[in-house]
């Protein structure tokens, strides 16, 4: 199937918005992606026709709700190549997925002095839960550094992994766009006797993902960055790891029995999904991954690669070096997240001027403060693409950046 981005754009109602007199130029998909109508409709159908609580009622609509919720789990499992839907646990977002991993798996498997290896490139979601575990359980943290080419410095990887229990690292930087060598990291981590957890919040939405060949033991991602709704995320783990992971939050739904003496946890994903889950959101995520599959993730990745190449080229040559790209300068092992440092213009001001052109980019530290410090920056202005992004939007960005430069010099 050929990739017709014009047709695809018509599926996204928000792209019809006019902002400050300009058509919306949405370049913030790294923060959250736009939602196609099919996702909205799936959630609407759920609420209009099937809404009931899951896993309990015996009546017709309750059975339908359970079927829709578990159907979404199966859709997500297929989308990432999981061996079974039971390997897919629904969370609130990737952040909660990492908290589940650190609190439930981490507290059961890591004791004082055990080593977890993280990276300087990672999002706070894959840093703070481990700092919390260090503070409560005395684990030891080590960090992969980032080199001047905006890549993970792997020169001391074996040293860092020596005696480590877990390596937890992003597959694609939400600041630099850098795609990390997960297959290589998996091999080295496993050789050292460590497991590998991967932050897929950026990668799963933009690159084909197959956990059967990825080499990871855990994979965390968020629904709203992959055309799904907010409020739903995933932690995938191999069955053997789930089998050794105690429950996370306690409450209804995650038990098989409760007496006044205590409780017996449920088995399967329910064990980690206490309380009424985000049913409509799961249904929406199911629709999102079916939509992405119908386009084909290879086609999405190819489209975004072309667009990123075009953007890197235009940004590098339009401003007499007054706009610096904070990230790899070519599309080699790189995704469509482009952080900019605009000479003499603070990212907040860049973003403000761009807004007048209807251009949405994100100013700030992007929840990666250690990485910002590494490059001596307090903030960047970040443009990021989705499957619906087009070269004309890059042109609008370039024109708006020119306006910002003029205004502040």
């Amino acid at each position: 199937m050929s990739y017709d981005v014009r047709v695809l754009r018509s599926d996204f109602p928000l792209l019809r918005r006019v902002v400050n007199g300009h058509p919306l130029t949405y370049l913030d998909s790294g923060a959250t992606s736009l939602t196609p109508r099919t996702v909205l409709e799936a959630m609407d159908v759920y609420y209009s026709r099937h809404h009931s609580n899951v896993h309990r009622g015996v009546y017709q609509t309750a059975a339908e709700a359970t079927e829709a919720y578990e159907g979404a789990r199966a859709d997500v499992a297929r989308f990432i190549g999981a061996a079974s839907p039971d390997e897919v646990v629904f969370t609130k977002n990737a952040t909660e997925s990492f908290n589940l991993l650190a609190r439930a798996w981490g507290t059961a498997h890591l004791k004082e002095g055990d080593v977890v290896v993280l990276s300087e490139m990672d999002h706070h979601a894959n840093l703070v839960p481990w700092f919390q575990l260090r503070d409560s359980h005395g684990i030891t943290l080590r960090f992969l550094r980032v080199n001047d080419e905006y890549r993970l410095d792997l020169s001391n990887l074996d040293e860092l992994l020596d005696g480590a229990r877990l390596l937890s690292v992003t597959a694609m930087s939400n600041v630099l766009g850098t795609v990390t060598p997960i297959a290589q990291l998996a091999e080295r981590a496993h050789a050292a006797g460590a497991l590998l957890a991967v932050d897929g919040a950026q990668s799963v939405a933009h690159l084909p993902t197959n956990v059967a060949t990825l080499g990871a033991d855990f994979l965390a991602f968020s629904g709203h960055k992959m055309l799904g709704p907010t409020g739903i995320g995933v932690l995938w783990a191999k069955s053997e790891h789930w089998a050794e992971t105690p429950p996370f939050l306690g409450g209804g739904g995650m038990i098989s029995d409760v007496t006044l003496d205590g409780f017996t946890p449920a088995s399967g994903p329910a064990r980690y999904e206490a309380g009424t889950p985000p049913i409509a959101e799961a249904v929406g995520l199911g629709a999102a991954v079916r939509y992405l599959s119908s386009i084909g993730m290879d086609a999405v990745a190819a489209h975004e690669l072309d667009l990123t190449a075009y953007a890197l080229e235009r940004l590098a040559h339009s401003f007499d070096e007054r706009v610096r790209i904070i990230g790899p300068s070519t599309t080699l092992d790189r995704g469509g997240v482009i952080s900019l440092d605009v000479e003499g213009v603070h990212p907040h001001d860049v973003s403000q001027v761009l807004d007048q052109h209807g251009v949405c980019v994100r100013p700030g530290h992007h929840c990666a403060k250690p990485l910002m410090r590494r490059f001596g920056l307090a903030a960047t202005a970040r443009a990021s693409f989705g499957p619906y992004s087009i070269p004309a939007e890059v042109d609008t960005l370039v024109d708006a950046l020119r306006d910002a430069l003029e205004m502040f010099t």
């Binding site: 400050n20 990212p347 907040h348 007048q356 403060k369 502040f408």
Partner: protein
């Protein structure tokens, strides 16, 4: 949702002047000066305010740090306005400035705007709610420095 007001409301000429040529940049030895640090966790803006208090008067003030045009201009304008003022007048000015930032219409009375002097040029910031924190950072940090300063007889 209403349309954003024009950028000229935000980036007035005098604001841009303070951004490009910030007043009172630098440090003061502590003690005798009092230092306070402020930061905006959302955008990473950071500021350090040094005030030298002599009796009841802010004898000198210096600023270091980095941030967007609004936070830099606001801190520069603040430093120029409070240097030589009494502590009481300074606290009054801080209160008036914060009112200016939170007033819904930013149509403060002419009298109030006149008393603020060139600082009134920042009144447009209140129409850009996301930027209010940028404008108030220096003022809150100044208040912190005044609160932390040892009482003088």
């Amino acid at each position: 949702m209403t349309q954003m007001p024009p950028l000229n409301d935000l980036y007035r000429e005098i604001v841009m002047d303070h951004y490009r040529t910030p007043r009172n940049r630098g440090e003061l030895p502590t003690p005798p000066a009092q230092r306070a640090d402020g930061h905006n966790p959302l955008c990473g803006d950071e500021i350090s305010v040094y005030v030298l208090i002599n009796g009841d008067v802010i004898e000198d003030i210096k600023l270091t740090g980095h941030g967007c045009s609004i936070s830099q201009a606001s801190s520069s304008m603040m430093s120029a306005a409070v240097k030589g003022r009494s502590l009481e007048q300074t606290r009054e000015l801080v209160a008036r400035f914060k009112e200016l930032m939170t007033s819904e219409t930013a149509d403060s009375s002419d009298q109030a705007l006149r008393e603020l002097g060139e600082i009134a040029a920042l009144s447009g910031v209140s129409k850009f709610p996301v930027r209010i924190k940028c404008a108030t950072l220096a003022w809150n940090t100044l208040t912190q420095a005044l609160d932390d300063a040892p009482q003088q007889g």
